[in-house]
């Protein structure tokens, strides 16, 4: 019997995996970026289904709000190249497909063989107040380190993207 939760789960799973496939296979890369955003959104909705609303909202703000928009802008800046094929040859693509199908099949097979207790969610949904306690207590040093990493990455991105007119013309002449 399929009830509302199952239907929601199936729809969200199809949207998530379908969005990922569109992201990689869409002819226009800009549609791929939109498919990727849809996939991120599907993952966030799966987090909601798993009673993790805080992480779901974090996922929406960071992935759909920041990363997807960043990717969209980069796609606009970076037009397709000189028409060289996007993929490896059809033979290589087929071989990869076979390998990946075998990999996924063995993963799924091992999930079912592992005999996880089915349909026995923890009685109480985890509370996001506990996340705050963990982040400000046990994991506070990790949070600080993460802040440093974020600052470093922002600096690195800015340094990389800085246009230096002199060196740019120099590169043009060198080519």
């Amino acid at each position: 019997m399929v009830d509302a939760t199952d239907a929601t789960f199936i729809a969200l799973s199809v949207a998530t995996v379908g969005g990922a496939v569109v992201a990689l296979e869409a002819k226009e890369i800009i549609y791929g970026a939109v498919g990727l955003a849809a996939s991120f959104f599907g993952v966030a909705s799966l987090f909601f289904l798993l009673d993790s609303p805080f992480v779901a909202i974090f996922q929406i703000t960071v992935y759909v709000g920041a990363v997807a928009v960043l990717i969209l802008f980069t796609v606009m800046l970076v037009r397709e190249g000189k028409g060289i094929g996007d993929s490896a040859g059809p033979g290589a693509a087929f071989a990869t497909l076979v390998t990946v199908v075998a990999l996924v099949f063995s993963l799924v097979e091992s999930f079912f063989a592992a005999g996880f207790p089915d349909a026995s969610e923890q009685a109480t949904a985890p509370n996001f107040i506990d996340i705050g306690k963990l982040l400000s207590g046990q994991y506070a040093p990790v949070l600080e380190l993460l802040a440093l990493v974020l600052a470093a990455s922002a600096l690195a991105a800015l340094t990389l993207a800085k246009v230096d007119p002199v060196s740019k013309t120099g590169e043009k002449e060198a080519r």
Binding site: L46, Y63, V78, G81, D86, T99, D130
Partner: protein, 102 residues
């Protein structure tokens, strides 16, 4: 039927497969970025699902918060590198970017 842990794991495995396929076959740097982000999302689903079904605390959710922040940082740097590579080569085909080859 209720949604079980293995259902989430299957979705995660499918996403993982799609990501690996993209990483192995695509040569456009932007598509590779897409594939990496898909892989990170597949891993995050696993964390949350195992946390919800098997572990009565929020350690998994906290790990996913860290993972999302790290993925955002990594995405920013990768996209900056892609823009710089495009500025120099006017192309984002990774098989053409071979100046560091030994």
């Amino acid at each position: 039927m209720t949604v079980a842990l293995s259902d989430y794991l299957v979705v995660s495995a499918l996403l993982f497969g799609v990501g690996i396929y993209g990483l192995a076959t695509k040569r456009n740097a932007m598509r590779l970025v897409f594939a990496i982000e898909i892989l990170v999302n597949a891993a995050n689903i696993n964390f949350i699902a195992f946390n919800r079904y098997l572990w009565p605390s929020v350690v998994g959710q906290t790990a996913v918060l860290f993972s999302i922040a790290l993925a955002a940082a990594e995405g920013a740097v990768i996209l900056a590198i892609v823009v710089v590579a495009y500025r120099i080569h006017e192309d984002v085909d990774v098989s053409e970017l071979n100046e560091l080859r030994g």
